[in-house]
Symmetry: C2
């Protein structure tokens, strides 16, 4: 038995809604109690004095428990202090160890003021990005430099053509890293220079976002290099580098970059229907906490398998009130075409980033990009 611990705690609690799959009532209650211990002390509860602050406040508490579709829903609260007011430890408390158990899905978070206050969130957000792009009402347009293997001078020509045609955000394809055929520094030099020429020649305000996928120990160096070369944004891969790397880049005032979040590898959380974390949490709330101004995700009816209501929930999570955090743009993507623009504006509204990649190369890319811009201008509600 330990000596009783006395902690100074604020009393603020983080609330997490878990869906527990396919257990009977008794088993599900036992699992909920297990989560309370596993996600905090990981310690035999009978060895902790019952009246000390660890038992009373650090071990999670079941706030609500009910039957739900195919199982049960449990709301469990944790002391705000357990999160260390940092994103990795917040995620650790919410789902770290219990990710290793089957049939648990995190549906949503309710963050107390003290935790929310630790996250500045999107630097630009919807309003700030619209100002930067001089695009005040219409849907924002984005494309990707691809395919992997394309010579860098060709990627730079694409950058010029897309910016000149009125595309707002031109990002590296997320598969561009620093391959022998796609050296990061050389690529950024060529594409930033092409973008600057296009903006000067055509009076546009396009932003180039290189992918900061060059190794965990080179992320900040790469971001600084890109900014020095004139890039005003960057593509981050939280599924490969952790959400907190994106948070740290977004929060860096010296960089001051527009941050676009790419969903690579995040399907590990969202794809299993009865495990992981919800689409809205992974691609909405967590991306926004981590400072994404734009969150890319697979649109419904594209190359991937997200349902319309999952896409709507992501967009909602990016825009709903969340402390003092600015709203971020949803960027539904994955095999989109020009023909879908009116329907996508109908579904998401004007506060959306239309991301069309490969299809802009069908025929003359400049002409296709101008047609995309016209479709967005017309589609504006």
């Amino acid at each position: 038995m330990l000596e009783p611990a006395h902690l100074e705690l604020s009393g603020e609690r983080l609330r997490v809604v878990y869906h527990l799959d396919g257990l009977d009532d008794t088993e599900a209650r036992a699992l909920a109690r297990h989560i309370c211990v596993e996600q905090t002390v990981e310690f035999p509860a009978d060895l902790i004095p019952a009246d000390d602050d660890i038992s009373l406040h650090i071990i999670g508490q079941i706030e609500h428990f009910a039957e739900s579709e195919g199982g049960h829903v449990a709301t469990i609260s944790y002391a705000a202090e357990c999160t260390a007011y940092q994103l990795p430890q917040l995620m650790n408390v919410v789902f770290g160890n219990i990710s290793l158990l089957p049939g648990i899905r995190v549906e949503s978070l309710d963050l107390p003021a003290s935790v929310l206050a630790a996250f500045p969130g999107p630097r630009f957000g919807v309003e700030g990005l619209r100002r930067l792009l001089n695009a005040h009402h219409r849907p924002i347009l984005a494309t990707a430099l691809k395919p992997m293997g394309t010579p860098l001078h060709v990627l730079a020509e694409m950058t010029y053509d897309f910016a000149a045609a009125g595309i707002d955000l031109i990002k590296d394809d997320h598969g561009l890293s620093s391959q022998p055929f796609a050296n990061f520094e050389r690529r950024v030099e060529l594409c930033t220079a092409a973008l600057a020429r296009a903006n000067a020649d055509h009076g546009t305000h396009a932003v180039y976002l290189p992918s900061l996928n060059v190794g965990a120990d080179r992320t900040f160096q790469a971001a600084a290099m890109a900014r020095d070369a004139g890039a005003k944004g960057a593509l981050l891969l939280p599924g490969l580098y952790g959400y907190d790397t994106m948070r740290a880049v977004a929060a860096d005032d010296a960089l001051g970059l527009v941050v676009m979040s790419h969903p690579s590898m995040l399907g590990a959380f969202t794809s299993p229907p009865r495990h992981g974390m919800s689409h809205a949490l992974v691609l909405g709330t967590l991306a926004r906490l981590a400072g994404a101004d734009v969150s890319v995700f697979p649109n419904h009816s594209g190359r991937f398998s997200f349902a319309p209501q999952q896409c709507a929930a992501i967009a909602h999570a990016l825009g709903e009130p969340l402390g003092r955090l600015a709203p971020a743009f949803p960027a539904p993507a994955g095999g989109m075409t020009l023909q879908r623009i009116p329907e996508m504006v109908e579904f998401y509204g004007n506060d959306v980033v239309m991301l069309i990649g490969g299809e802009l190369h069908r025929g003359d890319r400049g002409g296709q990009a101008r047609a995309m811009r016209r479709a967005a201008d017309r589609g504006q509600r």
Copy 2:
């Protein structure tokens, strides 16, 4: 249509074995072809000249396709250059975008020499860690400082008691971050000092491994602080910080730390039976590529739900020939008890790290720890 691209490629290929769940033969073949494109060019294949190097070498190639339990198995190869010889991009090519599709599980990787050569792997490995700990044949013993909320001077007393009793590796509980009640710097100062006293008083060679869970922009600073205070190892959380952060810490010669990998959040990959990546890949091969000397995972028949064959596959992946990479220790954990030591040695052999946490606090912790050491010495094969 793009101009034909001409790339200088080595001809070396990375091979990935995918399990495709529950489709008929035609659908599964179509999905395999889709993976070849999605994981590389993400571009309409008809817009790439058929005889250029992107079509011929960059787009993935189906090497083998067959029916398998509940679906099909496809082996797909990619040009080694696509990986950029870096871990995040390797993972990006293997499973990045297709993680967002249902029913795909990565079973194993076959890495070409040029990719393997980019990864030094475990700095110590089994042999090096045995030398450091002066423990040449027996199972290695480990424990965690817990529960969260315990005053830091008590964690330091635990450190002393466990080291004095012959526990080799004393790690922070993975839930310790830098909470108000668990300040990282203060904790490391107290625990390294206690460890040094115990090693001096008792002639032991124990190593303390603080958890580098203090934010993505502070990882290297925290590692350097810990090393300067005398810590010879660190606990890394690849599920929260990305595997490449662990790789970069492990590869840092100025730090020279023993690296222990914790599985928090990695269940997102392993838990869904028909999605994600295999236990052996996530907790074995990838941990070792990322430089883990010790990979912690939930032992079968504990608080978690791994099957014996999954645990055996992890241990196998940590020890099998893999280029010039040293073997790493499996550390089966999660509710282990002293009574299980003989059975665990029988299952894993002597090259195992026995990690027992909470149960060492049942009664006198020094006595329990000495009993653990005796059980391991006796259990040695």
